[in-house]
Point group: C3
Chain length 137, copies 3
């Protein structure tokens, strides 16, 4: 729960990568088990999601075309022995109209990313009664 962050990474993900997969791969390569993520840029063919707590499943919202990636805030932790990226984003179209939610997938057009590695005990996600994998604290 208490962390030091002495390693910060500022980088771009290559065009065409899936944003979530690109972040997971970066975290694996740098051995980041726990961290925080911020990003801005542009993305296309976005799938956002809203978690329905009654039905215990995500409802997906598909957005075709290219959008500004206005905000991406998230974290890195461990879920079933894998590095897991949890990212919430807002995206805007050419009129400044905005959509938001839990990010399922998006193709990178431009992604300027900050990852702060958190030094301390790794955070683990465990399945909870509400159907979500949450930090077990």
């Amino acid at each position: 729960m208490l962390y030091k962050s002495t390693e910060n990474y500022l980088f771009r993900l290559p065009e065409g990568d899936d944003l979530i997969e690109g972040l997971v791969n970066f975290a694996k390569q740098k051995e980041i088990l726990t961290g925080v993520i911020f990003a801005i840029g542009a993305v296309k063919d976005v799938v956002l999601a809203y978690y329905d707590f009654e039905e215990k499943r995500y409802k997906e919202i598909e957005l075709d075309g290219t959008y500004e990636l206005v905000s991406a805030i998230g974290n890195i932790s461990v879920k079933e022995d894998n590095i897991f990226v949890h990212l919430h984003t807002t995206v805007a179209n050419s009129q400044g109209k905005i959509y938001g939610g839990h990010l399922m997938k998006a193709k990178v057009v431009v992604a300027e990313v900050l990852i702060e590695k958190m030094i301390g005990n790794p955070l683990y996600r465990k399945l909870q009664p509400n159907g979500l994998y949450l930090w077990d604290i």
Copy 2:
């Protein structure tokens, strides 16, 4: 104005807590007088606000139901001898439609929070001519 941040907290607030109160209580417990806050998750029964600078008061926007907490960015400082949390949030419904503003209150469904404690001179809020309590710098 210049701070070091050697203590970072990653944690969840319990379901049912008021988001702002939960953050204030955490800051009190950890003796964080100055810090920054980022959070994602899900919230319900949200009250956002827009400050009307002509009338010098907040106008509230009530949102019933459950929303993705898409972004929460804010800070911790001292207002009239109390720890004060200032948080701006965007929330999204099941269609990805989004609302935003100054957060008055919201019930936590899931809240994954990062607080970076800022080590340095505490920041104090003082009442300004525009009716807001702002950092006195």
Copy 3:
């Protein structure tokens, strides 16, 4: 690409400043060539933009009046020997309706800013085939 952030600045920009110019001037004064920016507050007479990758130019969205600055996430790097601020923002009106995109300009009403200076090799932007100046990495 790997940075330490031992200097963090929490401050307010004065009312009436252009938000981007105010951040650039602060970075110049503190000799911050590479950094990350987060801000909340209120702004007026906002110009957001959407980059059209086919036409290789920004399309501007003008928003008159005063808005909550709900999120501002961005970074500082070097573009053609100048300090360059890249900032994406969401802003909300009195109904909580929100607009977002790449920030061209906005007048500060209130701006509570965090800048984390990144200690390491400065990040440089170079013109890319898509018409944007991006980190050359």
